[in-house]
Subunit: 335 residues, 2 copies
């Protein structure tokens, strides 16, 4: 494992993106969003992904010079065409626009189509939290789950994130699959059985055999209810925004598909929390946080630091493999 | 079991509500929403509840003459004070207002505080579906789930409903608890064990003992992820709208609390589905429905008939107990 500071990690990621043709500001935002995920301890969505973004930038699957193009502009709804650009800066920008419109109109949403993977979705509810708003975000990706009872994959891990301006802030960030594929891989390597409800065989039968599951499909969290939630996520992204369903989204880890754009879509809602109160009272956020602590629980994500004000001196850990890959890309791009 | 037509059931429910002091139009809407639940096969949220609404109307816990009062009116967000009225007509009205605003602004939301139980939440996404919009609804109720790892109840079953204008329409309608309390009662009566993940003891330990579970607490669907989703629901209802948290909401089945208003809150979002498309293409809804069927699955709720155009000649079934209770109320109210 290698340790580095948040500040140096952001600088390294930014420089690699700039050397790949990404404009400075978009590179800086993207680098910060990537490293925030590592700072949150979600290495799977942080710097580990950067070599794959760089490969796709080089092959053309991600367009370095992409601009956000306004397709629809209603008072409370803006739809952008992402022009095959990086998901991180596009979703950050989308969240800022949604927040601004929500402050005027009470609620607002931004959809971004033809974009790319955005890392940890929970990052993008912080522009709302930081303005005292509620943020809810949805995204899509390659299909890994079948419809309930079905025998082929149609739904992505169908992530949902939400931020609520409690103290500390509540950050919800979850995939609608029961577990991540990595957890099944770990069980397979350990020769262990899966818990019931994690996965299906390739024909759609429930299985607790890790190897069958790896050749098969992920299961939705909580059974058929999770399937229904995943359908909502796919509806608000690939189906209604588009331009494509999860079914057609190529795997970002498959090098032979690096030239193929992913055409991922994101949807983000901002709600002015302070305007919701029926009685002018806003102290219930404090009450609820206290009750949760008093019952021996904790608010979701309350250990996630604010990605819009990271401390550059904090340390993050990456694997030696990721450190090597980044070093190779640095020399390849002449940094 | 007793059979009756949808038309006669609506007339009976309406007459009982009118005899309890509810104005004719609100009584008609409420009766239709109640019976739609029975028509959907969700008897637990249909006529079975009517005797309890009537008891609360008589005792004062529900106010028959309630009006919706505008508290906040922003272009895309309206907050109503429900004045302790019946949840059904209030949420139906709220959904209609949200749909109208969304058609102007792209997205809109309505919050209703100080209201009451609304039956099956999925009923109220139909005003959106019928206009080609997406609807998402949240509601709250008495606390039955602890925070994750906690030892006392803070969260309601935290229902979420969503409607998507696919063909047939997608209707999502679920509680965020793993199972309903009724399912645990049935297991207890049968002397059977629960499945893991359904319930906690009163101290918050996971249990598969149905009797311990009945004295204990419901568990969220899919573990900690379901808890996070339930926190989002409570945030958008009891916490931010108010006037009260789930923790303080009295049980509608407890006769000794019939005089105490429940102060339930609802939140509903409408999104103009046709405006979301990044490429002007709207055929992906058809594609998705076909792919789901082709994979051997089905869209959530695709068997739920449109509650805004029920067929009065269709038949529904209620238990003899419910039929008796309604007959007693009819004679009590002089119908």
């Amino acid at each position: 494992m290698a340790q580095l500071t948040v500040g140096s990690a952001i600088a390294k990621a930014r420089d690699l993106l700039i050397a790949s043709g990404v404009p400075a500001q978009e590179a800086e935002t993207t680098a910060r969003c990537i490293v925030a995920s590592d700072r949150w301890g979600i290495g799977s969505h942080g710097l580990m992904r950067l070599p794959f973004y760089l490969a796709r930038l080089q092959a053309g699957g991600i367009k370095a010079s992409a601009k956000l193009k306004v397709v629809t502009d209603l008072p409370s709804l803006v739809i952008f065409d992402g022009d095959d650009g990086l998901g991180h800066w596009q979703l950050q920008k989308g969240a800022e626009v949604a927040a601004e419109r929500a402050q005027k109109n009470g609620i607002a949403a931004v959809g971004i189509g033809r974009s790319n993977h955005c890392g940890a979705l929970g990052i993008y509810v912080w522009p709302m939290i930081n303005k005292g708003l509620v943020g809810i975000a949805f995204s899509t990706g390659p299909a890994v789950m079948p419809p309930w009872g079905g025998n082929s994959t149609l739904l992505s891990t169908s992530p949902i994130a939400a931020g609520i301006p409690t103290d500390p802030p509540t950050v919800i960030d979850l995939a609608t699959s029961a577990v991540a594929r990595g957890k099944i891989q770990a069980k397979a390597q350990a020769g262990a059985e899966l818990e019931p409800g994690w996965a299906f065989t390739k024909d759609g039968a429930p299985t607790t055999d890790a190897k069958e599951a790896l050749a098969g499909m992920l299961a939705p969290l909580g059974g058929v209810k999770g399937y229904a939630i995943a359908v909502l996520v796919e509806s608000l992204t690939g189906m209604l925004i588009g331009p494509t369903l999860a079914k057609n989204i190529p795997d970002m880890f498959a090098a032979d598909q690096d030239r193929k754009s992913q055409e991922i879509s994101h949807f983000i809602i901002a709600i002015d929390a302070a305007k919701l109160s029926v009685d002018g009272e806003n102290s219930r956020t404090t009450d609820f946080a206290e009750y949760v602590a008093g019952a021996g629980g904790r608010l979701p994500g309350s250990n996630r630091v604010n990605p819009e004000s990271l401390n550059g001196d904090d340390e993050i850990t990456i694997t030696d493999q990721v450190a090597d890959q980044l070093a190779q890309w640095s020399s390849k791009l002449g940094i």
